[in-house]
C-alpha cells in the first residue's frame, strides 16, 4: 500500500479539480484533443528536466512509496503521471475561472486569430 503514496497524492489532486467539469461546466475533458495537444509538450519538456535532475542527483524518490515502474533515465512512472495530472488540474482551474468570469479576455477567441 505504501507504494501507492505518490499516486494517492495525484488522486487527491484529481479529486480536487474534476468536479469543476460538472459544477462549473468547464468542458475541458470533452475537448480532449486540445487537452492532449496542450499536455504532450509539457510532459516531454518536464520529463527531460526530470532525467537531468535525477542524473545530477538534484532530487530522488523514496523507493518504498512510488509504484516501482521506471522509464528511461530512471524517472519513476509516478512522475509522468504528475506531469499529466498537474496540467489537467491547471487547465480545469483556468476554465473554471472563465466560467465565472466570462468577460475576461483569454486570447483564444476567433478574433484573436492572426491571419
Amino acid at each position: 500500500m505504501a507504494r501507492l503514496s505518490y499516486v494517492a497524492i495525484l488522486a487527491f489532486v484529481m479529486a480536487g479539480c474534476l468536479w469543476l467539469e460538472v459544477a462549473l461546466r468547464t468542458r475541458v475533458l470533452r475537448r480532449w484533443r486540445r487537452l492532449a495537444l496542450s499536455i504532450l509538450p509539457a510532459v516531454v519538456v518536464f520529463f527531460l528536466w526530470d532525467v537531468y535532475a535525477v542524473a545530477q542527483g538534484h532530487w530522488w524518490f523514496d523507493t518504498e512509496r512510488i509504484l516501482g515502474v521506471y522509464l528511461p533515465g530512471s524517472v519513476p512512472l509516478d512522475e509522468i503521471l504528475f506531469f499529466i495530472a498537474i496540467p489537467i488540474a491547471s487547465i480545469l482551474t483556468f476554465e473554471a475561472v472563465r466560467s465565472v468570469k466570462p468577460h475576461w479576455p483569454v486570447g483564444d477567441a476567433a478574433e484573436d486569430e492572426t491571419p
Partner: protein, 127 residues
C-alpha cells in the same frame, strides 16, 4: 547547473514562449493570475505532502536550503523551504502551469476545439 539555476531558466523560457513564441500573453491577463493564485495554493498543499512525507527528497548542493533529512520532515518554513518544499518548486510549478495554459490557449486560438466554451456554472442560468 543546480536545481535553482534550472528552475530560473525554465521560468524565463516559459515566459518567452508565452509572450513571444506562441504570443498568448497570459502574463498580462487577469484570468491567468486568478487561476494561478488558486493553483499555487493547492500546489503548496500537495507539494507539502510530497516533501513533508519525504516521498521526494532534495540535495542541499542543488537547492538554496539543505539536503532533505533521511528521517522525518524538513522545516515547514525557512532554510529555503516553503511548506516543506524547496522554494525552487514554486518556480518549477509556475513553469509547468504557464506552459500548459499557454499551449491550451494557443490551440484554442488556432481553432482546435475552441468550443464547447466553458460555463456557465450550474448555479447560474444559461444556454
Amino acid at each position: 547547473m543546480t536545481y535553482t539555476g534550472v528552475a530560473v531558466v525554465a521560468v524565463l523560457l516559459m515566459v518567452v514562449v508565452d509572450m513571444w513564441v506562441v504570443r498568448t500573453r497570459l502574463l498580462g491577463r487577469r484570468v491567468f493570475w486568478t487561476a494561478y493564485a488558486i493553483i499555487a495554493f493547492f500546489q503548496l498543499v500537495t507539494n507539502g505532502m510530497f516533501t513533508g512525507f519525504g516521498i521526494v527528497r532534495y540535495d542541499g548542493e542543488a537547492i538554496l536550503g539543505s539536503t532533505s533529512p533521511s528521517e522525518g520532515a524538513p522545516p515547514f518554513l525557512g532554510d529555503g523551504r516553503i511548506a516543506f518544499a524547496p522554494a525552487e518548486d514554486l518556480l518549477f510549478g509556475f513553469a509547468l502551469v504557464l506552459l500548459s495554459l499557454s499551449l491550451w490557449v494557443f490551440w484554442g486560438r488556432r481553432g482546435v476545439e475552441r468550443t464547447p466554451m466553458s460555463g456557465p456554472p450550474v448555479w447560474r442560468r444559461g444556454p
